[in-house]
């Protein structure tokens, strides 16, 4: 991927000056979501906006992706930072001999829990209640929002501080609360940037990764009164800290999500780098946690497996700065857990797709995905972007998200990095088939799929087609590959086509082995 010893895909983004803190031996620190090389955007460029969302109309991912690609400074920084997270993840993986064993354990623990979810939910509820925690059940996002509002109203709460939660994004909590007169303040820096800019998060772990420092300086000067001409990152972060601190101190209630809920103890775990979940939960007397029913795990000992995988997969950092376990309300405090279904129990019954419920929201599949890195998370027009989004979003709305399973090269990298071994790329392909069968995909794509289906079902024809396509790539004039109808070709060089396919090479070099192998068995 990289073309120089320093390891950057886009060397022009290298910063001559290191802005990050250094360790005791003078080494540049790169924990949390810090980059392993000093980067800096240099060219002023308008931030491209994401996909237009119009009711249930299918999302035009391709058009939004084209807008992102047309902003090269944004696209390069996005690509560079996410590939860096992927590279840091690989380094962590190689340092742990039992990595593959941990992935297999995580996968089996999750599958076991999902297959016995009713029992574990009941166990969790009983333990939590015994701990003095109020447990609520929400069948969908609207019910979740009503429950949260009810708790806040009963306490006369006027301001809610919260840490990042993809579930509350999914439920549309902030939009709902806007009509109630209760102020909601996001306390994760990236999520706060997105809230102040009235944009959803573009990534499950790094919500503002699609923005450059100039974009943040603009948002903060407009909303926090910071100096519009100063785009030094420590300055911007400090302005946000100063502006948010009084809101935290005067909040009436705090809200967190939950990365894991432990049935055995009725406790739940929240992982952050900023300590903002701990502020949200420990400063106001009232703590509400929204937790998807798929977050259950049986016992405390299983946390060891997941905590060791989560941040390493997400950021290539050994652990998040804070790993917080909430079991009982503190003295004089009150704790509520809202267990949310919102389509999860229905997904459990989908034979081809239920294992997507194993997801622990690390974002590794997004970081490794060439389509995500080049199109930006907001181009998906959905709460969940990237490979995991392609298989979750259609379960919410098959029509609106019918185009998303096509935003993939099916290269399988997502499945390879997934810490809970979800077969993401196979589920993406399976969704294409389901959507085609249910006529939720546009005519052009259907015809392409029918042609592809005819070819793929006959291996000899497939091999002929592949060898023709590769030849065509070698000899077609550039304008045929890079034209304005192909958003992916824009700004991208196709890899050189191989001179012969694997199959023809194998047949040529292993004549005996090939003998007798009929179509489809080679």
């Amino acid at each position: 991927m990289t073309d120089e010893p320093g390891g950057l895909i886009h060397p022009e983004l290298r910063s001559e000056r290191n802005e990050s803190p250094v360790g005791p031996a003078g080494q540049r620190l790169q924990h949390a979501e810090g980059t392993s090389q000093p980067l800096r955007s240099k060219i002023r460029e308008r931030q491209p906006r994401g996909a237009e969302v119009n009711g249930r109309r299918p999302i035009d991912h391709e058009a939004a992706a084209a807008r992102f690609i047309a902003a090269p400074e944004h696209e390069k920084m996005h690509d560079e930072r996410l590939w860096d997270l992927r590279s840091k993840r690989d380094a962590q993986m190689h340092a742990i001999p039992e990595w593959e064993e941990l992935r297999e354990l995580a996968s089996q623990i999750k599958q076991h829990t999902l297959a016995h979810l009713d029992e574990y939910l009941e166990q969790f509820e009983a333990a939590a209640k015994a701990n003095g925690v109020h447990v609520h059940w929400a069948t969908d996002g609207a019910a979740h929002n009503r429950i949260v509002h009810g708790i806040l109203r009963d306490h006369g709460a006027k301001r809610l501080i919260k840490s990042k939660s993809m579930l509350t994004e999914e439920c549309g909590l902030r939009d709902y609360m806007a009509a109630t007169g209760i102020e909601v303040v996001e306390t994760d820096l990236g999520e706060r940037i997105q809230q102040l800019d009235d944009e959803p998060p573009s990534h499950v772990v790094v919500p503002a990764v699609h923005k450059l420092r100039r974009d943040v300086a603009e948002v903060f000067s407009r909303t926090l009164g910071s100096d519009p001409d100063t785009d030094e990152v420590p300055y911007l972060a400090e302005r946000q800290r100063e502006a948010t601190r009084p809101l935290i101190l005067s909040a009436d209630a705090g809200m967190t999500g939950g990365n894991f809920a432990v049935a055995e103890t009725g406790s739940f775990v929240v992982c952050t780098n900023e300590g903002n979940a701990d502020l949200s939960a420990n400063v106001p007397a009232l703590h509400i946690a929204s937790i998807g029913i798929e977050k259950l795990i049986p016992r405390v000992e299983h946390l060891g497996v997941f905590i060791r995988l989560l941040s390493r997969s997400a950021l290539g950092s050994p652990i998040t700065q804070y790993t917080s376990h909430f079991r009982r309300p503190r003295e004089g405090g009150e704790m509520h857990v809202v267990l949310v279904d919102n389509g999860r129990s229905a997904r459990l019954g989908m034979a081809e797709f239920w294992t997507s419920l194993k997801c622990i929201r690390c974002g590794a599949c997004m970081n490794t995905c060439p389509v995500f890195r080049r199109s930006g998370g907001l181009s998906y027009g959905a709460t969940y972007a990237g490979p995991i989004g392609l298989i979750l979003d259609p379960t919410f709305d098959k029509r609106k998200y019918s185009t998303l399973p096509f935003a993939s090269t099916l290269n399988g990298s997502c499945s390879n990095v997934c810490p809970v071994k979800i077969n993401i790329h196979e589920q993406i392909f399976a969704w294409r088939r389901v959507l085609a069968e249910e006529h939720e995909i546009p005519l052009v794509k259907r015809q392409m799929m029918q042609a592809a289906g005819a070819v793929l079902s006959r291996p000899a024809l497939y091999r002929a087609a592949i060898s023709t396509a590769d030849s065509a790539l070698r000899f077609l004039p550039r304008f045929a590959v890079y034209n304005r109808w192909n958003a992916w070709g824009a700004g991208r060089e196709m890899p050189p086509a191989p001179k012969e396919t694997f199959h023809t090479w194998y047949a040529r070099t292993h004549p005996a082995a090939d003998k007798g192998s009929g179509d489809g068995s080679a």
Partner: protein, 205 residues
């Protein structure tokens, strides 16, 4: 139908086919490459934390301030007998009253060599928010309380007994803007661990 019953009924109806047994979690011996305390220190420093060797000749707080280059603090909040602070945690009416604390001092229940984490609960913190509202956090850790791995840490009783238990691994951090790392995103700006055995009189938490 009651939402609880509706969700549980749907979950039962849609139960995936197959056995899906719960696998046993084996004991993973994490490589520590040398002494455990040294391994802990290496791990913590990679996560932005600092490790201070205790100097028997100097006062602990003085040594800490000198080692970390901090200006003399106005308000020190101590939950340990080794350091006398000037803000008594027992008299704090509301967590927000700790917003002006410069340095908070606590003792960790245990440390984790694999990651450089320290474990804190309400027993050590007295007021949980002090570990986030203070500008800087100083943590005392007995080297004898360091376990090898995160797996070993989860064998501790705190996860079954404490109301609140948290691993701190370095200071509050963010790199949400262009991947530039900043310490002190919302919580403490620095975290320093002093490897100091518990006083014989102090009862382990």
């Amino acid at each position: 139908m009651d939402p609880r019953d509706a969700i549980l009924a749907a979950v039962r109806r849609n139960r995936p086919v197959g056995e899906h047994p719960l696998p046993p979690v084996p004991h993973f011996a994490v490589s520590e490459a040398g002494e455990r305390a040294a391994c802990f220190a290496r791990s913590l420093e990679l996560m932005g934390g600092k490790v201070l060797e205790p100097d028997p000749a100097a006062d602990l707080l003085t040594a800490y301030l000198r080692g970390s280059g901090l200006a003399p603090p106005e308000i020190v909040c101590s939950a340990v007998p080794e350091i006398a602070g000037n803000r008594d945690l027992a008299t704090v009416a509301h967590p927000r009253d700790l917003a002006d604390v410069d340095v908070a001092v606590v003792r960790a229940a245990c440390g984790v060599a694999e990651t450089g984490s320290v474990l804190l609960t309400e027993a050590q913190l007295q007021v949980n928010a002090v570990a986030y509202l203070a500008q800087h956090l100083l943590v005392l850790l007995d080297p004898a309380d360091i376990v090898a791995s995160i797996h070993d840490a989860y064998d501790r009783p705190e996860f079954h007994q404490a109301r609140y238990a948290v691993f701190h691994t370095g200071p509050s951090a963010t790199a949400d803007i262009e991947g530039v790392l900043v310490h002190g995103a919302q919580g403490v700006r620095s975290l320093t661990v002093v490897l100091l055995p518990r006083q014989p009189s102090s009862v382990p938490a």
